[in-house]
């Protein structure tokens, strides 16, 4: 067995995950994508809303 703190001896072994590389990486990939999406969507919505409100407030000020 290896001396390091890691459970794998090489990067190739880490990617292979025994026979389960496909299952593990698909799960983690989709989950991380979903988490990023959950942050990105409200952030973009906030930017869009602020721009739209700024236009409205400027227009109101001109009236």
């Amino acid at each position: 067995m290896n001396e390091s703190i890691f459970a794998f001896n090489s990067f190739a072994e880490f990617i292979a995950m025994g026979k389960h590389g496909f299952y593990v990486w698909v799960c983690f990939g989709i989950t991380i994508a979903a988490l990023v999406l959950n942050v990105a969507l409200p952030w973009l919505a906030r930017r869009r809303y602020l721009n739209q409100e700024a236009r409205r407030l400027r227009w109101e000020a001109m009236q």
């Binding site: 995950m17 025994g18 299952y23 593990v24 989950t31 959950n38 409200p42 906030r46």
Partner: protein
């Protein structure tokens, strides 16, 4: 005990100011905990003696499942608070939690299905735990659809509160499904009264991931609620001042 904080929490302005101070801390905690949990769970924790490396899926499957159930309970609590104290902020919390809960139920079901293939030999079985979790996802869809379908805000808030409270009966069914029915699903990994059914090198990263997911939920919920408050209170002078301040900062 003084209850002024509880009533003040109902004020959108007070909540907006307080959440603005909390948000960065939760965001930092989320990144640190999830990054640590990912590296520890994927590369450092030892493989399971039966399942090999496929067991590492537990590090997202269990946190997502916990969160999916906790968020539904919080919908029901927000529902009760909204109905009893007519607190506006409760409906904001309910409406903004539901999509995050649906995402978590989806992640739980999907990672469970993918984990099932190498472990049970099937992506899906109509087992009590899995079926109850699917019902949870549909309950989330129901709350989201109901909130969007009713145009009167107060009626929508009431309808969603009632559905959330009624639907919470599904949560103990999910929890005890592995004890009540014969099931393929393994029993709980964590218990309050017993030692975890896992060696410490395996459950410490799991605990870190669970905390990371709860911080993630708090961060995203606060982001969503703050935007929704700006939308709902758009006519008040403090929101107009805040929008002007935020837009001005961007153009400097």
């Amino acid at each position: 005990m003084k209850w002024t904080w509880f009533h003040r929490l109902g004020s959108p302005k007070w909540f907006y100011e307080l959440s603005g101070r909390w948000l960065p801390w939760f965001a930092v905690a989320t990144v640190l905990l999830i990054a640590t949990g990912l590296v520890w769970g994927l590369a450092i924790a030892p493989p399971d003696y039966q399942q090999g490396n496929s067991f590492r899926i537990i590090y997202i499957h269990v946190p997502a499942s916990f969160l999916a159930q906790s968020i539904y309970i919080s919908l029901a609590i927000a529902g009760v608070v909204g109905l009893v104290w007519k607190m506006k902020i409760a409906d904001v919390a309910l409406q903004q939690s539901a999509p995050i809960g649906a995402w978590m139920a989806f992640i739980s079901l999907l990672t469970g299905a993918i984990w099932g293939k190498p472990t049970w030999g099937a992506y899906w079985v109509w087992d009590a735990r899995l079926t109850a979790m699917l019902i949870l996802l549909f309950l989330y869809f129901g709350v989201i659809a109901l909130g969007q379908a009713i145009s009167n805000r107060d009626s929508a808030a009431k309808a969603c509160a009632v559905l959330s409270i009624v639907g919470v009966v599904n949560i103990p069914i999910i929890k005890y499904s592995v004890d009540w029915w014969n099931t393929l699903h393994q029993p709980a990994t964590f218990s309050v009264i017993e030692k975890p059914a896992m060696p410490v090198e395996m459950w410490v990263p799991l605990l870190i991931m669970v905390l990371g997911f709860y911080c993630f939920f708090t961060t995203v919920l606060l982001m969503r609620m703050r935007l929704e408050i700006l939308r709902r209170e758009a006519k008040t002078s403090w929101v107009k001042a805040e929008v002007t301040r935020l837009v001005g900062k961007k153009h400097e």
